[in-house]
Chain length 205, copies 2
DNA sequence: GCCGATCCGATAGACGACTATCAGTTTGGT
DNA sequence: ACCAAACTGATAGTCGTCTATCGGATCGGC
């Protein structure tokens, strides 16, 4: 996912980019996050310099690979859930299927975690697409109305973090999806302290 | 925090261990997580080999430093909160003050995150100490009774993860403490899917 | 099909994490 | 005070990340 158009890549460069991303996704999925970049370059059939030319560091490489997966798999699922007439059930479906997909790509996600690829603005399109569903839920009174979109981003990140505490092949994360949904319910909702803005970049490094 | 007694360290070795931990805590607090180990050794006034001898890798060094902070600061706070007559208020106080302390040690926590120092068994004593409070809350009906102690561990980890999405000097995390407390309330609680055991070690590497 | 712009692989080097070795110092039990 | 065991700093080497450079290959607008 090259960001804005500086200038479109030349055909061969784009081809190489694609090969590198595919190799990275394969290798991380197969072997977890400790794959040397040289090996990714080798599997992609390009020189190491080319890899670094396209992806200045590991975090960016993994982030880009993740965005690819995201566009191909998560976004379509999301769009289906958005059309659920019951917004609460729709939200549940979104959380469930996102978690399920991320549990499946466990190694890739672990790599993203290890290299700091998951910044606050990750999945912006995802949450933008989610906004109407939340609003509808709030209007119809099935989602507490003191929740803002940034809360959902953080809650999604919190849910993902629970994956690292369990075997991803079991579905233990479902328990926490339910807890989150309970927290988002208007029933018994306590007044919330104010929301603060998201950090742009990954802090603490 | 050397684990069980293989054999107690010799006096000079223990002294060096202590100096290294203090240097690490200082440097990480000052400069974030990208401090070379050589520099920590230098500030501690020991050779780099000594550092590696006591702390086989970065994750262990940071984990040990964290446990030190934990024992010195978190545990005392916890003990006070445990005596609150209202277990729900006690739990709220525990979550609040733990988050506040961790927000204060933001850089140290970021280092722990970056080096994989936060494993599933982190803070075992903390949660063991917390157990009676939870039980009391469940008996008196102010905490939902389908919650187990591992849930609390995961929820604490989830709460901590929210720190990376905000400026730690603001208190934005309070919002999520309240949401968590709402989720833990018996009011409007949905039935939960089964709990699965914690992973022992950090997976995905 | 020409030719400049773009992209390529190979290579060299800096730096930090980590391992291994070893001669010299410190400790602590007697 | 002695001495073996424990501990030490220095040093040398491996590996992976990442930067920089450069002659040669490829692309694409004409």
């Amino acid at each position: 996912m090259p960001s804005e158009p500086s200038r479109p890549l030349r055909a061969d460069a784009a081809r190489n980019s694609e090969k590198i991303l595919r190799a990275a996704r394969e290798l991380y999925a197969e072997r977890g996050s400790d794959v040397p970049l040289e090996e990714i370059a080798r599997r992609a059939g390009v020189g190491i310099a080319t890899l670094y030319r396209r992806f200045p560091d590991k975090a960016i490489l993994v982030r880009t690979a993740l965005e690819q997966t995201f566009t191909e798999e998560v976004l379509p699922v999301l769009e289906r859930a958005l059309e659920d007439e019951d917004p609460r059930r729709g939200l549940a479906a979104v959380l469930e299927s996102t978690m399920r997909l991320n549990a499946r790509d466990y190694n890739m996600m672990a790599a993203a975690r290890d290299f700091g690829s998951l910044t606050a603005e990750a999945g912006t399109r995802f949450f933008e697409a989610l906004a109407p569903l939340i609003e509808r839920g709030q209007r119809t009174g099935v989602i507490r109305d003191d929740i803002v979109l940034d809360d959902l981003r953080r809650i999604m990140a919190m849910l993902l973090s629970v994956l690292w505490t369990m075997d991803p092949r079991e579905d233990g994360w479902q328990r926490y999806v339910v807890l989150v949904l309970d927290a988002l319910s208007p029933e018994g909702a306590s007044p919330l302290p104010p929301a603060v803005p998201l950090y742009k970049r990954r802090p603490g490094g």
